[in-house]
Structures are given as C-alpha cells and as structure tokens.
C-alpha cells in the first residue's frame, strides 16, 4: 500500500515535471512536437557496417557506387568499407567468407555477383549469420534480400528497339549483335531481349553475331567480319560500352559510320555522353548509376529499420532506364568519374 502511494506520487511528480518542461519547450519553439523520426533513424543506422564487394574496384561502376552509396552511409553515421577482388571470383568469395567469419560482422553486404551461381551458397550463409545481402547490378539465381540494378533483358530490348527506330522500315532490316560471353546473365538476358524485340518486329533479322568475351579487340575483329559478310546491316547491338568501342573501330575502318548505328549499354559515365556526342555510338542504354546507387541506399535504410531478419523477404529494385541518343543529352545526363575523384581527394 505504502509503495503504491509512493509510486503514484512519483508518477504524478514526473508527469507534472514533464508537462512543465513540455509547456516551456512549446513556448520556446512551437513546432517541436515529439518527432520520433530522427532518433529512430539514428538508432537503426548509426554505427552500422556496410561493405561493398564489386567485381573490381578498378572500373567506373565501382568507383561510382563507392562515391554515391558511401557518401550516404557515412552521413547517417555508418561505417563504409569496400573490398577489391580485382576480377577474381575466388578473391571475392574469400572476401565474403572473411566478412561472415569476422568478429565484427557487417550489417549489410552489397555484392556485384560475377555470375549466376558462384556466390549463391555464400549469400545464404551470410544471411544465416545475420547479414543483409544486397545484390547490385548483376543478378544471380539466389534471391537475396534485395536486388538493385538493371533488368538486363529490358536493356537488350531497349538497345534493339533503338536500332529499329533509327533504321526504319525502309532499311535492310538486318542487325548485327556483339554478345558478351553467352554465359553470364548480363549477356544471356540481353540476348533474350534482342530476341523478344525481333519477335515483335517481323522481317527484322540478326544477320551476324559473335562474342566479344568482354574484350574490345575481339569485338573489333568479330564486328569487322560481320560487316564484311553483311555490308548492308544498318545497326549493331553491342552488349557493353567498353567492347562497343572496338565495334565502333571496325565500323570506322569499314567507312560505314554514316550507315551503321551502334546501340550499347553503359554506366552513364561522361565517356558515354562523349561518344554519343561525337557520333561513335548511336544510342546508349544507361544503367543510371546515380539512381541505381540511390535505390541501394534506400534499401540499406529500409532493411536496417525494418526489424526484419535477413532472408525474411526478397525484393527487387529495377532502375528505370531508357535508350539515350545525342538528341536528348543534357549537361547532367552523365556523371563524371574524374569530378568524383577530385572531390574524394579534397
């Protein structure tokens, strides 16, 4: 009985104190209602460790992600780290394994899968260890917590449609395709996209195709052979801007710059805009890296606040993309890696 009186007395006093404090605060600044947002946000995100494991740190995509995603993670008080497998699937697997086993486990790992299968088992192990797994850019056949990036089939469709739109119905209706390796999702799915568009457009055919194996010299040789065998093709779809520069060299050598329209994909770095402007490329379907990065940031923030456990759900954040041509370039269409580096160096 005594204790309860004491307790209610305490509560009463506390309530009075709170009301007084509240009234004082209100008079001081009217709008300061008790917004739970910032505190909840900070509690969920501060000190969380996020690690990016791309296929290599040495190309435009990874450096863009490192900048755009890293900037936000650091801003919400998180710890941002990267690992560089330097194109080695094994080194990437080792990096993920080390992270899973480390005493100071990361809360989220962001991985660019090198192929459909290699990391599937590791993703599950990471989730079992309590780590959220975000797959970025390259899908695999394991549905992790989030996939953010392109639907590669859509990219293939957009590229092919761009060629068809440019060539028109009065053309030869023949296109060439420089594929990647016919093994990776980015190659296989783009090819499916090409096929899907050709089905919708009767009369259009793939006159010649070959693999660049992601090497510009091979792309040049393959494109030279295709052009020589089919001098009347009106456009070439090349699955990657790096190899498309080799394809463009073959077109240049054949003196067909005005006839052959090259459509490709790229990260939207300034080189893409430059090559569109000078007419090397006809269309580039950009994977819109800044938006893709923003999607990834949103995924990190949501996953860490959701209270859900890794593996509870699998979600897909496909970036909205379209084929860009020289006609619709603006000064902000492309992002600039050199500028990012300069800012990072400051």
């Amino acid at each position: 009985m005594k204790t309860s009186i004491k307790a209610s007395l305490k509560t009463g006093l506390l309530a009075a104190a709170c009301t007084m404090a509240g009234t004082l605060a209100l008079t001081a600044q009217e709008a300061a209602f008790d917004n739970p947002g910032p505190e909840a946000y900070a509690n969920a995100l501060e000190g969380r460790r996020v690690v990016l494991i791309p296929m290599t740190m040495g190309f435009d995509l990874a450096q863009g992600w490192n900048y755009f995603i890293g900037e936000e993670v650091r801003q919400f008080g998180g710890i941002w780290e990267t690992r560089d497998p330097n194109w080695s699937v094994d080194a990437g697997a080792q990096a993920i394994t080390d992270l899973i086993a480390s005493a100071d486990k990361p809360d989220v790992i962001i991985v660019q899968s090198p192929d459909l299968n290699s990391y599937s088992r590791l993703y599950r192990r990471a989730q079992e260890a309590g780590i959220f797994v975000i797959q970025l850019d390259n899908p695999s056949n394991y549905a992790s917590d989030v996939f953010a990036g392109s639907n590669w089939q859509t990219l293939g469709e957009l590229e092919t449609q761009a060629v068809i739109d440019h060539c028109g119905e009065d053309s030869s209706k023949k296109i060439g395709v420089i594929q990647g390796d016919q093994v990776n999702s980015s190659s296989v799915d783009q090819w499916a996209g090409v096929q899907a568009v050709l089905e919708r457009n009767p009369g259009w055919t793939v006159a010649g195709t070959g693999d660049s194996n992601w090497d510009p010299t091979t792309a040049r040789n393959v494109a030279a052979t295709i052009l020589q065998q089919n001098p009347d093709i009106c456009g070439i779809v090349d699955f990657w801007d790096a190899t498309a520069q080799g394809t463009a060299a073959a077109v240049r050598d054949a003196g067909l710059q005005d006839q052959v329209f090259i459509a490709t994909t790229g990260s939207g770095e300034t080189i893409d805009c430059k090559l569109l402007e000078n007419g090397t490329f006809g269309a580039v379907v950009m994977s819109e890296l800044p938006r893709q990065s923003q999607d990834t940031v949103a995924a990190i923030k949501l996953l860490l606040q959701s209270g859900a456990a890794p593996g509870d759900a699998s979600m897909y954040l496909y970036t909205a993309e379209r084929a860009r041509t020289a006609a619709d370039l603006t000064p902000t269409t492309c992002w600039d890696q050199a500028a990012i580096e300069a800012r990072a160096a400051d």
Binding site: T56, G58, F59, D60, Q63, W87, Q179, D181, Q182, V183, G208, T209, G210, D211, N213, W214, D215, P216, T217, R220, N221, V222, A224, T225, I226, Q228, Q229, A242, Q245, G246, A249, R252, D253, I271, Q337, E341
Partner: protein
C-alpha cells in the same frame, strides 16, 4: 634405316600446320560465302596482327630457350602509362619515349633475373608480370580503361591512315617480321641466340656473351609488347588493362608453339610466327562467320594447341641433351 629416314621428306611441324591452315582455308573458301573476298583476307591478317607482333617478341625469347610470361603485363602497363601522361599534358613524343624507356627497363629487369640471378625464366616472368601489373595498376593508374586523348591528333590520324590499303596494325606486323627475320638471320647476336638456345653450356664455353644476350632478348620482347599495345590502342582509341586477365598470353604461346618454334629453344624463326598466326587467323575468322559461341571457339583452339604440343613432342623428341638441361 638411317638413309631411308634421310631420303623421306621430313614432316616438320611448320609444314603440317601450314597444310592444316591451307586445308581450313580451302574448306572455308568453298563453304562460306565471302570468305575469299579481299576485304575478308585483310580481316584475317588484321585480326592476328597484334597477336603476331607479340608472338614475334615471344619467339625471340623462346629461341634463346626462355619464355616471357610478363609480355601482356608490360604491354598494358607501358601503353596505359603513355596515355595517362598524355592526358596529363605530355607531348606524344615525350610520352612515347617514357613508355619505351619503361619497357626497356622492365625487359632488362626480367633479363637480369634470368641471366644473372639464375631464376628460371618461367618463374621470373610469371612473378614479374604479376608484380608489374599489380604495382602500376594500384599505384599509378586510376582506371581499367584509358582512352586516347582527343588532342593526340598524330596517333588518331595513324589509326585511320592506310598505306597501300593496309592499316597500321598489319604494317606493324609486317615490319616486325621483316626486322625480326633480318636480326635473327643476319646479325651476329641473332646467330648467337640460336646457338645459345640450342646448347647453353656449349655456347658459353665458346665465349658467346650469353648473359648480355639473354638480357637483350627480354628487352626486345618487352619493346615489342609495347609496340603491339600501342598499335592496338591506336586502332581502338583506348587501352583496356583488363586484357591482362584474358587468354591473350596463351594465344601468343599458341602461335609460337603451333608455328613450330619448339619450347626447347634454338629452333624456328619469324616464318613460323607467320604460319602460326595464319592458322589462328583463318580459324578465328571462319568460326566467327559461322557464328560459333566463344566457349566452342575456345574448345577448338585448345584442342589444336594440344595436338600441336603432342606433335611437337613426336617430331622433336627429347634428346639426351634436352633431358640433361631440362626444358625452359
């Protein structure tokens, strides 16, 4: 027995490969439309030109009973540095001089390790290749891919220049082959290289300066690696350092070995490089016209390499001398 063997025309590997190439060529001519057109023949030569320049460099080292596994690293690194300093405002000439100097330095380093430190060429260049690329890529280069600067008008003009209708890479290959042939055949160092490759101890005892010769052969392969890289960069208007991870190095060895330059040294010459490159060129071109996917192309290429190596073992059996000294 000995007389009959002497009378029978010797089936050299070079001859067999040339025959294979000609058969393939004839087969593709009959079955594939447009294969025999002048433009396609130029495509064939062009597609193996850079490979041919690299193979010429490799051949020089292999003839002296060595091997240079760092060629692709050197090629990528020197050209990438050249383009990067050009972006930084260097003149074309100065950048080129720097790249050549670096190539010569790296070649000399390889040669020194093999000739003076006594490391096997296989391990020395395997390690130096990884080291050179790793160091330069991580410390000096900022990106995987470096473009030719817009103001490098001389280099850009070279890319579209044609002499007698031939593009730069074909001319470079022809030039290197002629130069290599002359050097191997008409210079004292060239003849010494064969003697050294054939029997190192004997060459040394005779008073041939074997150690400097080894250093020079690695310097030659390094400079040719740079030349191959530059030709390729001029044609593509960029250099992609990722080719270090590709199968290019194996293709170079493939050309050298199937051309008939035995890995045990002392044999072959530029003619073998041309024959080897011709076979690969015809094969790649035909497979591309047939729209064969890359994995199948790799399979076919590797089967041919395997066949060539087995053939090499049959035609050039290990003699007492080789087994005592060991292969490279």
């Amino acid at each position: 027995m000995t007389t009959t063997q002497r009378l029978r025309p010797r089936a050299t590997q070079e001859g067999i490969v040339l025959l294979m190439a000609l058969l393939l060529f004839a087969g593709f001519t009959v079955t594939l439309d447009g294969f025999l057109s002048a433009a396609n023949l130029l495509n064939i030569v062009r597609s193996v030109s850079v490979l041919g320049v690299l193979a010429a460099g490799m051949a020089i080292v292999v003839i002296g009973r060595g091997i240079d596994l760092s060629m692709i690293s050197i090629m990528v690194v020197t050209v990438a540095i050249q383009l990067q300093v050009m972006h930084g405002g260097w003149s074309t000439g100065a950048a080129m001089a720097l790249a050549v100097a670096i190539a010569l330095g790296l070649g000399a380093m390889n040669g020194y390790m093999v000739a003076y430190a006594g490391v096997s060429a296989l391990f020395a260049t395997l390690a130096s290749g990884a080291f050179i690329f790793g160091f330069v890529r991580s410390q000096i280069l900022r990106q995987d891919s470096i473009t030719l600067p817009d103001d490098a008008t001389t280099l850009l003009a070279l890319g579209s220049a044609r002499v007698l209708g031939l593009p730069l890479d074909v001319l470079a290959f022809a030039f290197v082959v002629v130069l290599g042939w002359a050097a191997l055949r008409w210079t004292r160092q060239g003849r010494f290289l064969y003697l050294m490759g054939d029997n190192f101890q004997a060459a040394r005892t005779t008073g041939i300066p074997v150690r400097p010769l080894i250093v020079v052969s690695f310097m030659a392969s390094a400079v040719l690696a740079w030349a191959a890289g530059l030709t390729s960069a001029i044609s593509l208007q960029s250099v992609n350092t990722r080719i270090v991870n590709s199968t290019l190095l194996y293709d170079v060895i493939l050309v050298v070995v199937i051309g008939g330059i035995g890995l045990s040294g002392g044999k072959g010459g530029m003619r073998n490089v041309v024959v080897g490159a011709f076979l690969i060129g015809v094969l790649l071109n035909g497979m591309t016209i047939l729209n064969l996917p890359n994995i199948h192309q790799n399979l076919i290429r590797s089967v041919i390499l395997l066949a060539a190596i087995i053939l090499d073992g049959q035609l050039n059996p290990r003699d007492e001398q080789t087994s005592q000294q060991g292969d490279i």
